[in-house]
Amino acid sequence: MAKKEYAFYPGCSSQLRGSASNYLVSVNTMCEKLDVKLTPIPDWNCCGASISYAAAGELTRHVMTARNFALAEQHLPGQDIVATCAACWLGGRETKDKLDASSQMMADTNEALKEAGLHYKAEAQMRHMVEVLVEDIGYEEMKKPMVKSLEGAKIAGYVGCQTNRPFGIAGESFENPLYLDKLVETMGGEALTKYEQKVTCCGGSLAFSEPAKSQKQIRDIVESAYDHGAEMIVTPCPLCQANVEIYQSEINRKQGTKLAMPVVYYSQLMAVAYGGNAKQAGLDGQVIPSKKLDEIAAKVVPVATK
């Protein structure tokens, strides 16, 4: 399969020693095996996420994102922009739709971008890494680099909100998106398709501002995974991952529960299935380590089976 090239938008949390740095590590391993080349957008800036609305007006927020678009168009012409973070991707999609729809918004945006010596031509497409996997590569192709199966691993696919609504992945439904389950099965794992907290909101940024309310959500999400016999939760979103993983200890402390459900990225599953070791799969970045995944990662694969 020919090399695929994308302009890469990592987003703040994925940076070195960022809260989702292990996501990036696993994505790099995964992409290498899939022969996908990600070139970070030079000097990219924060997208503003979905929380900056109070401080920043609509235009200002669009301008922030448009700068990244403009840089991508300038330095990596013709390449789709790929984001790994749900919020970054969603923000990008919204900005693109809005600017495509409103000529005034577009004019205003470029007027502002001019100050940074940039111009947005509305060419670049905004994609999520999952879209690249599902649409550009496909499940069959994803199997090819596999050297080991996640056989026996019971995994709850937690899609969350922002890769799912309002845009979602083409062909998937809002209430019951299946791509994570398909990914898990493709990697040989056992997808817990009946997991009903699949698209429940973890509280997003409000995990910071409304911890009690969010932690109630998180508890539901984790406990339901336990109910379905999950050994780990898999997610495509850094904020979901962080919220659902790191607040479990808080919930245990406050509510006397004993939650310790590992929460990993799809890319980590794939990195492992593709033969990556714990480090290459960013498993060392787990606050709640996944024994199961560590074991599989540690398994040495006899060449024969390969």
Binding site: S13, R17, A55, D108, L113, S205, I246
Partner: protein, 210 residues
């Protein structure tokens, strides 16, 4: 932000459309408010629904009823987690999430948003943090969140969360050095000029509606 004339806007006549018009002109996606048919599916689909004093659909009705103060001073729209559940279920396809954000921002702009609204503070802190260097400094962001209500409160918060911080540290997902210098964009100056311009245009546009 928010200028005096807006602040001093006097109470509006009931069910006369002045507040509705105000929202249509000055609130992001505000011109959708009139399209609501009061089915309530948004209210039932909301993540933090139980914590909303007024549901989105009710807020839309209150806007039509001219309840300006009650709406703008409410903390309901600050409960929005941007999960977009309401948006995809709305039979009239209203961009409810954006309208809630828009109303919150408008209230903040007018200076009538509830004081000590944690999500509002979060929003401000996040924004200021990310535009400083063009990228988020997660450590400083977290700290300033803790210390927003003063030193003691901050220390208490920080202590309560230290286990988590430690865990993240161990997992190499939190960098203490970020306190001194985190990731940042090269063209900070450009970004600042750009944002200044954007805000300029924005207030010009808002002004145009007065």
């Amino acid at each position: 932000m928010g200028n005096m004339t807006e602040l001093n806007e006097q109470a509006l006549a009931k069910y006369r459309n002045s507040f509705l018009h105000e929202v249509e002109e000055r609130v992001e996606e505000g011109d959708w408010v009139k399209m609501c048919m009061q089915c309530g599916v948004c209210a039932g689909s909301c993540t933090f629904g139980p914590h909303w004093e007024h549901s989105p659909q009710k807020i839309f009705m209150m806007i039509r009823a001219g309840k300006r103060e009650e709406v703008l001073r409410s903390d309901s729209m600050w409960m929005c987690t941007s999960c977009y559940n309401c948006v995809v279920r709305c039979p009239r396809k209203l961009p409810i999430t954006q309208i809630m954000h828009g109303l919150a921002q408008y209230a903040h702009r007018l200076g009538v948003a509830p004081k000590m609204q944690p999500t509002r503070d979060l929003s401000l802190i996040f924004w200021n943090n990310c535009i400083k260097t063009g990228r988020v400094n997660e450590l400083r962001f977290t700290l300033s969140l803790y210390f927003k209500d003063g030193l003691m409160a901050g220390i208490r918060q920080a202590l309560s969360m230290q286990s988590i911080a430690l865990a993240l540290l161990m997992a190499k997902r939190l960098n203490p050095l970020e306190f001194f210098k985190g990731h940042e964009c090269k063209d900070k100056a450009g970004i600042h000029r750009m944002l200044k311009k954007a805000q300029e245009i924005e207030s010009r546009r808002q002004g145009a509606h007065k």
